[in-house]
């Protein structure tokens, strides 16, 4: 889960990392006041969950409160990658002498966190690593032994950092690691970290990502930041359909049957499980089908859940038919899904034989599923028909 820059800065401030003076504004008047209080040139930045703000015109400089108000007005109305900012930050413009990079993330191959440092901040670290490998230093560290100062010093010194700079940067690095570990972040990045003309350091921009699964255990700090549990903070905000899907999933704790992603096609998909859904979605598109949604059922969902999911998908305008396809199942029961889907179709006022283009869930309890499906005249198949072939038949019946 990604944080807005102003939220990242609040979290860094809690660790005692030095930040520029300033705040956030929801309208030009607030920006004007903040700029007046800061008594000097300011930088205004769009608060969106997207990189590339500078290029998109989401960062502006202002010398007077009047200019700040005008800049804020422009930024607040400028969408970046289809997102309007939640607010605009107004900060004192720092006199930066040099920019650095500090980041902590997990290395999935080493299976350890890794601290990355560069004395070339302000640009994408991957680009620096490619073009100037001598300016990037990496250091994996243990999750069993506490992270203490000497590790940061070793890393920093490897790029020639010494003197007062070494002490100051060590402080920032260890605080960043503490933040990363304390809040189960998957990425904690300060870029750039500015060294000011007076030798002090200040965070100019930063990026934090919290592990989705860890959100519950950090509810207190999320509450403090005003982040609601239904804010997914994914690539785009959730649609109404997706929010209702999450509610279906929350009906009971048995299995998964509601994590949906909305698309604008005519073929509703009741598919699973994790890997099977990806495979089936690809196949539907390959055969020219237009999915109305993505979803993933699994873990043996209840009849009720499968029914509610089916009703939700059928309630979406433009959905002509649904396809029910899974990989060979081990713990999800085919008959329970069959019952739930048929119930959902019937309760939506449709004929299962017409509305369900195909049912392909081979594996546990398939014989019972086939019996139910046969009774309602629904086309079904066993494992001798591949997932891809089942998808093709569904597309053929539904039309493109």
């Amino acid at each position: 889960m990604r944080f807005y820059e102003f939220e990242c800065k609040l979290l860094l401030a809690k660790q005692g990392v030095p930040l520029p003076h300033g705040g956030t504004a929801n309208n030009p008047e607030q920006a004007r006041q903040l700029a007046a209080e800061l008594r000097g040139p300011v930088v205004l930045k769009s608060q969106v969950l997207s990189g590339g703000r500078m290029k998109a015109g989401g960062v502006k400089f202002a010398d007077t409160p009047e200019e700040a108000a005008n800049a804020a007005a422009e930024i607040l109305e400028l969408p970046i990658r289809d997102q309007l900012p939640v607010c605009v930050s107004v900060e004192a413009k720092a006199a930066v002498a040099k920019e650095y990079y500090l980041g902590v993330t997990y290395d999935a191959l080493a299976k350890k966190p890794v601290m990355i440092f560069s004395d070339m901040g302000g640009i994408d670290i991957e680009q620096v690593a490619e073009e100037h490998p001598g300016h990037v230093a990496k250091q994996h560290f243990s999750t069993l032994i506490p992270y203490t100062d000497f590790r940061a010093k070793e890393l920093l010194a490897s790029l020639g950092i010494t003197g007062g700079e070494l002490t100051a940067l060590t402080g920032v690095a260890t605080k960043l690691v503490r933040l990363f570990q304390q809040y189960d972040m998957t990425l904690a990045e300060i870029n750039p970290l500015g060294k000011l003309e007076d030798g002090s350091f200040v965070v100019l921009d930063c990026h934090l990502d919290m592990e989705d699964e860890a959100r519950e255990r950090h509810q207190a700090v999320l509450d403090e930041l005003g982040i609601k549990p239904d804010e997914t903070r994914q690539g785009r905000p959730p649609t109404e359909f997706e929010i209702r899907g999450a509610q279906v999933d929350a009906v009971d704790h048995r299995g998964v049957a509601g994590r949906v992603v909305e698309f604008d096609g005519n073929l509703g998909l009741v598919i699973g499980a994790g890997g099977g859904s990806l495979t089936i979605f690809d196949a539907v598109q390959k055969y020219g089908g237009k999915p109305a949604n993505y979803c993933e059922i699994g873990g043996n969902p209840s009849v009720n859940k499968a029914m509610e999911l089916t009703k939700l998908i059928l309630s979406k305008p433009g959905v002509d038919k649904i396809a029910v396809i899974m990989n060979v199942v081990s713990n999800t029961r085919a008959d329970i899904v069959a019952r739930g889907v048929i119930k959902g179709v019937v309760e939506s006022g449709h004929d299962p034989a017409q509305k369900i283009s195909i049912f392909r869930i081979p594996g546990s309890w398939e014989a019972d599923a086939f019996k139910i499906l046969g009774k309602y005249g629904v086309e079904y198949c066993d494992r001798s028909v591949s997932m891809s072939e089942a998808a093709r038949r569904a597309v053929e019946k539904t039309g493109t």
Binding site: Q234, G275, L278
Partner: protein
Amino acid sequence: MSILIDENTTFIIQGITGREAVNMTRECLDYGSKVVGGVTPGRGGRDVYGVAVYDTVREITSKERVDGSVLTVPPAFVRDAAFEALENGIRLLVIVTERVPPRAEVAQIVEFADIKGARIIGPNCLGIISPGKSKMGGIGGPAANTNQAYRPGHIGVMSRSGGMATEISNSLTAAGFGQSTTVSIGGDAIIGSTYAELMPFFEADPETHAIVIYSEPGGPMEAQLAEWVKANNSRLPIIAFMAGRFMDAMPGMRFGHAGTIVEGKQDTASEKIRRLNDAGISVAEEIAQIPELVKQRLS
């Protein structure tokens, strides 16, 4: 032969009295696996389908040889259960638990396992099966279903998806190709054993003649496998299936497993396919093509 487990492998189940675990115990016993005990703190003295339940792992390991443990405990208890098994000398841990252990805890488990010389499979996986010999975990489901999908043979299968491990093995079985061992390696961002880390086991198993993998967007594991193949001049032909190609157009959106998200170019299906091809790995367009590609590569 097979890798990781065979007919002599003894294992315990931690969290054995949970609803899903009870079913899994039954399925493993029916398949012929040697389940020598179960652990649920506070439930010592009971039994699950004849398998004695203990309060601690040590009560079992102090009495007999235990090769492995399947962990099906709730997410909040995974780290403790893993440390308990590792501390008591168990060398193979299959972590079934899904969705919760944050990366920090998985990293701790893996780091401790390295110290103890143990191997972790998962988390978020269905386990391991060496067909006809043993299965460790829910992979394949009830014994009758498992026998339908899996047959003893010469193909090693590794999959980031538990369901697709069975789907692929089933398509191989239907085409006359049995499996030496199928490993559901797990769908999380950090897992105990990657494809490349399991390759040396398959490489050392004379009964394994080819490898099939199921892969997805997200993470560096496919690139690591491609590098491994190039560096080690592997004798084993590899056939890959890449799901989630549609995700390339949707960066930042998570689909399916926790580790399945496109955050950079290297995470995309197209880039992974390029790297796999570059290493001489055949990439199937659909599951039904896999047996055909296996046949071609073996001839």
